[in-house]
Structures are given as structure tokens and as C-alpha cells.
């Protein structure tokens, strides 16, 4: 049973990451391959805050989110100058640089060895040591992300994002500064991803660079696209499907070492199939100019 709760915690963390990415990808139309960088920045900054400064999880989560949001400026400001696919490549570069900094800056991050001994969160003396108690927190985080994204989408601000996605020149003509909106929505996206990173670190009590590679960014992107970019529920569906996939493969009798590789083959193939046959994803309304 604990295993099921564990999988649900993982699904909630990925769900939060996917919801956050969807704000940028699905609602603003910007293809970002840097989500795992923000996720990792959040995980590392909250891990360091709790291991070195002894700060509680709640503060760590805010520090994680804020660090990621601050660094998202580097990415979002470059959106002012670059066409969409060039922007995607720039985010790819950003992701690579952040990963290598985390991996190489051994004095602070301990490099490939990672940071161990991150405490499980505790509330009023009760430590969330079991997956089921942590699940309460993870579901709470997912709900926050969902509500934040739903409120943004239904607000005036969200309608401007949609206008930018559909026709940027028109939005600009109506007196909206696309860059200002992109910077803000990227900040929210990175903040949520940073929170998810903090939750990851405090749940696994260990962070290392291997969890935040560019492949992780592509996985999160695939979750949004397969679930349906530009729909509120799509990212959660996509995250659940891709988190459950290796378990399903294992259930079918495939050894777990091969299951991980096979998951990659399947989701890579599904990504191609979605692009070819259903660019809107399972639940989406938006298919990148289709």
C-alpha cells in the first residue's frame, strides 16, 4: 500500500511541474525545455537552506520557488528577441548550463554526490515520515498549483496570455507588452516548479544532479503535450499516465531495468504520434498553430 502512496506522491510532484509548464507552453505558446532546471534550482536551494541553515520545509519551499523564479528572468527576457523554436533552443542551453553548474560547483552542491540528509517536513512536532502523510502535503501542493493556474487562466491576465499565443502582434497593437506578460508567467511557472523541487528534496531526503537533466525537461514537456497543452486537467492526466507507465510495464512482466528504457521508447513514440495525429493532446484545445 505504501508503494501506491509513494507513486501518488511522485505523480503529484510531476503533476505540479506539468501544470506549471502548461502555463507557459499551453497558454502562452512558448516551448520551454528548461523546466527541470527550475525544478532542480528549487530542490537544491531548499535542500541547502534546510541542511545548512536548519530552516523548516515551508520556508524552504518559498526559498526554492523564489530562487527558480529569479533565475527564470534569464530565460524569459531572452524571449523578447527570439522566434519560438530558437527560444526553445535557448531554454535548452539554459537547462544545460544550470545542470553543469549544479554538477560542477562541488563546494556548494557536492557535485555528483548530491546532498543527503534533507529532513522530512514536520508540522507541530509531527514528522511526515510515511508516504501517506507526505501525500497530504503533495496533494495540497498540486491543488495550489491547479488553483493558481485556473485563476490565472480565467483572469484578465490569462486572456492576454491567450492573445499573445494566438497573435502576438495583435496583442501588442492593443497596448499589451508581450514581454511583460511572458516574464510574469515564466516567474509563476518557475516558482511552482521550484516548489515541486523543494517537495522532491524533502520527500526523498536526497537530491543529486541526475534528477534534473534535460531528459527530465523533455519528460515534463511530454506530459503536458500528451495530456493536452492549454487545458487545466491535461497536464495532470499526462503526468499520471507517464508516472504509471513503468509500473504498468512491470506489471506486464517486463524486468524493471528494461521497463525504464521501454518507457522512454513508448513515450518518445507517443510524442511523435501526438504531433502527427493529435497535436492537441488528449484533452487539449491548443495544438501549436494547428
Amino acid at each position: 500500500m505504501d508503494y501506491l502512496f509513494h507513486m501518488l506522491v511522485v505523480a503529484c510532484i510531476y503533476g505540479t511541474l506539468a501544470i506549471a509548464l502548461n502555463l507557459v507552453l499551453g497558454y502562452t505558446g512558448l516551448l520551454s525545455l528548461a523546466q527541470a532546471a527550475f525544478y532542480g534550482l528549487g530542490a537544491y536551494s531548499s535542500a541547502l537552506a534546510s541542511v545548512h541553515l536548519g530552516l523548516p520545509f515551508s520556508v524552504g519551499m518559498i526559498i526554492g520557488g523564489a530562487t527558480a523564479a529569479a533565475l527564470s528572468l534569464v530565460v524569459s527576457l531572452s524571449a523578447a528577441r527570439l522566434r519560438d523554436d530558437y527560444f526553445a533552443i535557448a531554454t535548452f542551453g539554459f537547462q544545460y548550463i544550470v545542470w553543469h553548474l549544479v554538477n560542477n560547483w562541488t563546494d556548494v552542491t557536492r557535485g555528483p554526490m548530491g546532498i543527503a540528509g534533507i529532513p522530512r517536513p514536520s508540522v507541530l512536532g509531527f514528522t511526515m515520515a510515511s508516504p501517506v502523510s507526505f501525500l497530504v502535503l503533495a496533494v495540497g501542493m498540486l491543488l495550489i498549483a491547479y488553483v493558481v493556474s485556473a485563476r490565472i487562466v480565467r483572469s484578465q491576465f490569462g486572456r492576454v496570455l491567450l492573445a499573445i499565443r494566438e497573435d502576438e502582434a495583435l496583442a501588442e497593437m492593443l497596448g499589451k507588452s508581450p514581454l511583460q506578460f511572458k516574464v510574469k508567467v515564466f516567474g509563476v511557472c518557475a516558482f511552482l516548479a521550484g516548489m515541486a523541487g523543494a517537495a522532491y528534496g524533502h520527500y526523498f531526503t536526497y537530491v543529486s544532479p541526475t534528477s534534473f537533466t534535460v531528459m527530465e525537461s523533455i519528460l515534463i514537456l511530454a506530459m503536458v503535450i500528451i495530456g493536452g497543452a492549454g487545458s487545466l486537467a491535461g497536464p495532470i492526466v499526462g503526468a499520471t499516465l507517464l508516472v504509471a507507465l513503468p509500473e504498468v510495464l512491470r506489471f506486464l512482466g517486463i524486468p524493471s531495468s528494461a521497463a525504464a528504457t521501454m518507457r522512454q521508447v513508448i513515450y518518445g513514440g507517443v510524442l511523435v504520434a501526438v504531433a502527427l495525429y493529435r497535436p492537441k493532446g488528449l484533452l487539449g484545445r491548443f495544438g501549436f498553430g494547428l
Binding site: 522566434r83 560542477n104 504531433a275
Partner: protein
């Protein structure tokens, strides 16, 4: 110092070989062909398959592996990118499909051949040859020589032949090319075939020089993308310049600061160029580059 120059030349040669095909495809397809990295890997695994599973000797196996990767590239175009073009998909959709292809293909290699590093039994390992005070193995010398020859051939092919003329017509204006009877799909298939063969050759050369892993393609591919962007899309001289610059930055940084700073240095160059000069050194003014 001579060794640093030799290492730079070798790295630039690989980046150039990959960048030639990537640029060739980018200019007509107008999308970032990430799966080009999988085609490069396919060259290496194709060689392993032909030599070690089918037991064919190396001199015959190399052309087979090169053709196999060329065919893989053309098949990718036929099965995925041509249907997307018919639907007028945006470059972002092509890029997403290409990412999916890269992941599916390289992990299929991992399933078929295993995750571990493999080596191809080539001729007996000999000490490197001494060239102007630096040490290079014969295969490294061949790599450098081939990249020079193929770059020259690519320039000739593009500017001195009928196929090159049709290619340039599609690059300039694909709709107009269609209207004047240029078979646009055939030009694209040809570009994929040629570009992918060269990428496969690069994979073969790297596999013979070092070894092969399912993930071997992403790093070199991204460096090739950096070289194409830095040099300016569509300029052969720019590409050579970009490849040399990237290789020089990587090797110099690696030499003085440590090998683990090689990659971030290359990507820092990419991000700087994207921010301050998206059309690269020698790229065409607006449309061709990445500026909005």
C-alpha cells in the same frame, strides 16, 4: 600547445560533419532536427551491428553503416516530417516530434544493444602518430581529412550542380519553387538522405576512435547546433568558423579550467549569441536567423 590545436581540430571536425547535415536539413525543413543526434548514433550502432552481429569486415561495413543511417534519416522525413509539412505544422511541432524521435530511437538502441559502453574491434591499437608535435591516431587524422573534403564537396554540390540549384530554390522560396516545377518533397528527401549519411559517417568515425553508447549523440548534436547558430544559418564559411570557435572554446576551457567545464562553456557561447546576435557571424539579415 600543438596538442591543444590538434584536439581542437579533431573536435571541430566532428562538429562540422554533424553541423553540415543539420544545417542542410534546417535550411529546407526550417526546424531543429534533434533526431539528427539519433541518426549519428545509428551510424555507430549500425557499424557495430554489421561488424559484430553479421560478421562483415570493417572496410565493407563502414559504407553499409553510412547508407543505413542515410536511409534512416530519409525514412524519418518520409514518415514524420513530410506529413507534418502537409499540415503546415509550425517549427515547434516539428521540434516536438523530433525530440520524441530522438528519445524513442536512442532508447531502442539501449534496449537492443544494452545501456553499457561498447567498443568495435578495429585494427590493432597503435601509438598515435606524431604530427607537428601533437599526437593523433590514424582514425583521428582520417576524421579531420574527411571533414575538410566533405565540407568542400558540400559547397561544390550546393553551388555548382543542378541538384544544388534546386536545393537553393527551395531554401529561398519553397512555394515559388513548387510553382516552377521543383519537386520540393524530393529535394527534402535528398537533403535528409545526404545530411543523415554524413551524420552516420561521423558516428562511425567516433565509434572507431572512442566507443559507442546509446546517449553518445546528444552532446555532439547540440554542439553542432551551437556551431550552426553561431556561424549563421546558411553560411558554409560561418559553419566552419562556428565549429572551430566552439571546439576552441571547449578545448581551451577544458585545458585550463578542467574537462568538466567544456560543455557549459560551449552553451554559454550559444546563449550569448542567441541573446546578442541571433543570426550568428555570417547569417543572412532578418528571415534566416532567429530574430523576431
Amino acid at each position: 600547445m600543438p596538442q591543444l590545436i590538434a584536439n581542437t581540430a579533431l573536435a571541430a571536425a566532428i562538429v562540422l560533419l554533424l553541423g553540415l547535415g543539420f544545417g542542410l536539413i534546417y535550411r529546407v525543413g526550417r526546424f531543429f532536427h534533434v533526431a539528427h543526434g539519433a541518426v549519428f548514433t545509428a551510424g555507430a550502432y549500425g557499424l557495430f551491428l554489421v561488424v559484430h552481429v553479421l560478421g562483415i569486415s570493417l572496410p565493407v561495413a563502414i559504407p553499409i553503416a553510412v547508407v543505413l543511417s542515410g536511409v534512416l534519416g530519409a525514412a524519418i522525413d518520409r514518415a514524420v516530417h513530410r506529413p507534418l509539412r502537409k499540415r503546415n505544422a509550425t517549427p515547434a511541432v516539428h521540434l516536438i516530434a523530433s525530440l520524441g524521435l530522438y528519445i524513442a530511437t536512442t532508447n531502442a538502441f539501449a534496449l537492443g544493444f544494452g545501456d553499457q559502453t561498447l567498443t568495435i574491434r578495429g585494427p590493432a591499437i597503435s601509438e598515435g602518430l606524431s604530427v607537428l608535435g601533437a599526437r593523433l591516431t590514424p582514425i583521428q587524422l582520417v576524421t579531420i581529412a574527411l571533414s575538410v573534403v566533405i565540407t568542400a564537396l558540400a559547397v561544390v554540390l550546393e553551388h555548382r550542380t543542378d541538384s544544388g540549384l534546386r536545393y537553393r530554390a527551395v531554401v529561398t522560396d519553397s512555394a515559388l519553387a513548387t510553382a516552377t516545377g521543383v519537386p520540393v518533397d524530393a529535394v527534402l528527401s535528398g537533403s535528409f538522405l545526404v545530411g543523415s549519411s554524413v551524420a552516420g559517417l561521423a558516428g562511425v568515425l567516433v565509434a572507431l576512435d572512442v566507443d559507442l553508447r546509446p546517449t553518445m549523440g546528444l552532446g555532439p548534436l547540440l554542439l553542432a547546433v551551437v556551431a550552426v547558430v553561431v556561424g549563421g544559418v546558411g553560411s558554409s564559411r560561418g559553419l566552419v568558423l562556428g565549429a572551430v570557435l566552439i571546439a576552441a572554446v571547449q578545448n581551451t576551457v577544458g585545458w585550463f579550467l578542467g574537462q568538466h567545464w567544456r560543455e557549459p562553456a560551449a552553451f554559454a557561447v550559444l546563449v550569448l549569441f542567441l541573446l546578442f546576435r541571433p543570426r550568428g557571424f555570417l547569417g543572412p539579415r532578418p528571415a534566416g536567423g532567429g530574430e523576431r
